[in-house]
Amino acid sequence: MIRVNNLYKHFGKLEVLKGVTAHIREKEVVVVIGPSGSGKSTFLRCLNKLEECTSGEIVIDGIPLNNDDTNINAVRREVGMVFQRFNLFPHMTALQNITLAPMKVRKLDKQEAEVQARALLRKVGLEDKADVYPDQLSGGQLQRVAIARALAMRPKIMLFDEPTSALDPEMVGEVLAVMKDLAREGMTMVVVTHEMGFAREVGDRVLFMDEGIIMEEGPPDRLFNNPQNPRTKGFLSKIL
């Protein structure tokens, strides 16, 4: 579903990614962990070209991203993204946030889009918040609306960029619960997170990134209980 070969990304002189290779299968849930500055968010943002990679190859569902003929908007329709800081549109209600892209990009008519949006709000437990503006919602609610907004495009892949890092602790659970449901339904997911419990419970595979490369990867049980790389050991000992 996602093939990444030898990905490099420089910001000026700063090398953030130094040769990342990863293959992610359909319906797989891959959790990316690592210290801050390890390049994990940059890696994720390269997957829908919010960051342009310096060199290397990314193929999403058979479509190469760094090919001039590729319509990036067509790829992004199939790849949903959830941001650390939610990025809901503040001038629109929850419902309008969710219906905008399906109407403008997928050309759904308003009624179809709203029926779908209400179903998605129900799915994330916020059907009563349809007509509420983002400033009336808590962090956890904002992030659940953001997830519903991404799902409204019916993506084949969902990217999560530290979706719970900006939340108060008591709200982390409600967002993780929605993500777990999604994983159970067979969504292909790439999740950058510090939630090791989520990684263990839901992840099919964990990638440990440090210094711009994938230092170690493996099933969560193996990686958490028996890390091989000394870097992985050091990181896990600090956070677990």
Binding site: N73, F83, R85, N87, A101, V105, D135, A146, R149
Partner: protein, 222 residues
């Protein structure tokens, strides 16, 4: 003080004030259209759009409005080789004021657009929207709210700057005053009266802008 003259002059000056308001409103209206286009150009990644837009802003902000008025009123008919129609001064006045205010309004829009969090564009683009769709449905509606107060200030500036078109015989507020002074030789009374009328106009507009600003602030969090 010739109070009698001052009272007698009110109707003529009011006529001029109406024209001043009309000129300024037209300039800000056209200026908004010009400004939005120029701002888009300046923010474009294409050098072929960004460079001329930047040059436009530099020229109209960096040269005196009076020179711009002369260029359009006297210069344009010469270089384009046409005989100015009878009321050409109005057309030239509105063009000059609009082009000038367009440069300032372009900067207002640019700042407004750039003040919107990058995450908004990223969220829109990540949903498959084009840059144009993200701008139209996500960025501009938020930016418009933020530019209302500075646009109001631009309108106030335009009310005052429009006095310059009196040099090409447009009978706006200042020109009306000049005519009365020419007839009566009472410059102090008349120019004080003109100044007070400008003051009433600008204070009224600034109250209006403040009120709008407060109303928008109420809904600003959404």
């Amino acid at each position: 003080m010739d109070w009698h003259l001052m009272v007698k002059s009110i109707p003529i000056l009011l006529n001029g004030a109406v024209l001043t308001i009309e000129l300024s409103a037209a300039a800000v209206a056209f200026g908004t259209v010009i400004g939005l286009s120029i701002a888009m150009g300046r923010l474009s990644r294409h050098k072929l759009l960004a460079w001329p837009a930047g040059a436009y802003v530099d020229f109209f902000r960096g040269t005196p409005l009076l020179v711009q008025i002369y260029l359009i009123y006297f210069g344009l008919p010469q270089i384009l080789n046409f005989t100015p129609p009878d009321s050409y001064q109005y057309i030239a006045g509105v063009i000059a004021l609009s082009l000038n205010s367009g440069a300032y309004i372009a900067e207002i829009f640019r700042a407004g657009i750039q003040s919107i969090d990058r995450g908004q564009t990223e969220a829109a683009r990540s949903l498959g929207m084009t840059q144009a769709q993200a701008m139209r449905y996500v960025i501009l509606p938020q930016a418009f709210k933020r530019v209302v107060p500075p646009l109001g200030n631009e309108f106030i500036a335009m009310l005052k700057d429009s006095a310059l078109v009196s040099v090409i015989s447009i009978e706006e507020l200042l020109f009306s005053g000049k005519i009365i002074v020419g007839r009566t030789f009472k410059p102090f009374e008349i120019y004080i009266e003109v100044a007070v009328m400008y003051l009433i106009l600008t204070l009224t507009i600034s109250r209006l802008v403040n009120y709008l600003e407060r109303r928008l602030a109420k809904g600003d969090t959404r």
